[in-house]
């Protein structure tokens, strides 16, 4: 079965540094998402992306965050200047269409900000 793949699986960074989390969505999917899960807490929506534009974003997704589809296969999440509270598991997801289409999640990138 096709999978969403995320790299790296673990990322350790110093506070204030920039990080880029990478995702390869399923090839025929058109909608892409980032969610995050702070340890022991709920999975939280960050942003949805379609046709090279952000469709929707949450309050968490402030000016420190940006997303990009730099080529035909990758989908990235950049955190410009990481804070301690950015430490979380970040999940990429994709779907064939928007609306209530089934989301397929990757295995996540565990980001640790020291």
């Amino acid at each position: 079965e096709p999978e969403v793949t995320q790299t790296p699986s673990h990322q350790v960074t110093q506070m204030g540094q920039e990080v880029i989390l990478r995702c390869v969505p399923i090839s025929n999917h058109l909608y892409f998402y980032w969610y995050r899960q702070i340890l022991g807490q709920k999975v939280e929506f960050l942003v949805s992306f379609y046709n090279n534009e952000i469709s929707e974003k949450s309050e968490i997704f402030d000016d420190q965050f940006s997303v990009e589809r730099p080529d035909g296969s990758n989908f990235t999440l950049k955190i410009r200047s990481t804070k301690l509270e950015d430490s979380a598991m970040y999940f990429c997801a994709s779907s064939v269409q928007g609306g209530i289409e089934k989301l397929f999640f990757g295995s996540g990138t565990q980001l640790s900000v020291l």
Partner: protein, 114 residues
Amino acid sequence: GESVGLHLPTLSVQEGDNSIINCAYSNSASDYFIWYKQESGKGPQFIIDIRSNMDKRQGQRVTVLLNKTVKHLSLQIAATQPGDSAVYFCAENRINNAGNMLTFGGGTRLMVKP
């Protein structure tokens, strides 16, 4: 504020027994609900969904029940197996939500005893 939440954080069942995982929601605008399974080290995996015009939907060994009167959702797993051990999340969405922003509940850990 309005949110999706779970009644029990941990559920322990004997292998072969049926499991019932509950979820309460308070957003009356929600009209689409999904159950996800998250195994250790993996992203959420879609199990089953239900629209608000239904009160029951069955899949393979799983059944989702929706009670709109009391805003309650449940996931029933028949003949629970060790492979069912995971954290289960309910999530809600709105059918006209183009951005596919899921709101997740807090999760219930299902532990299956052999």
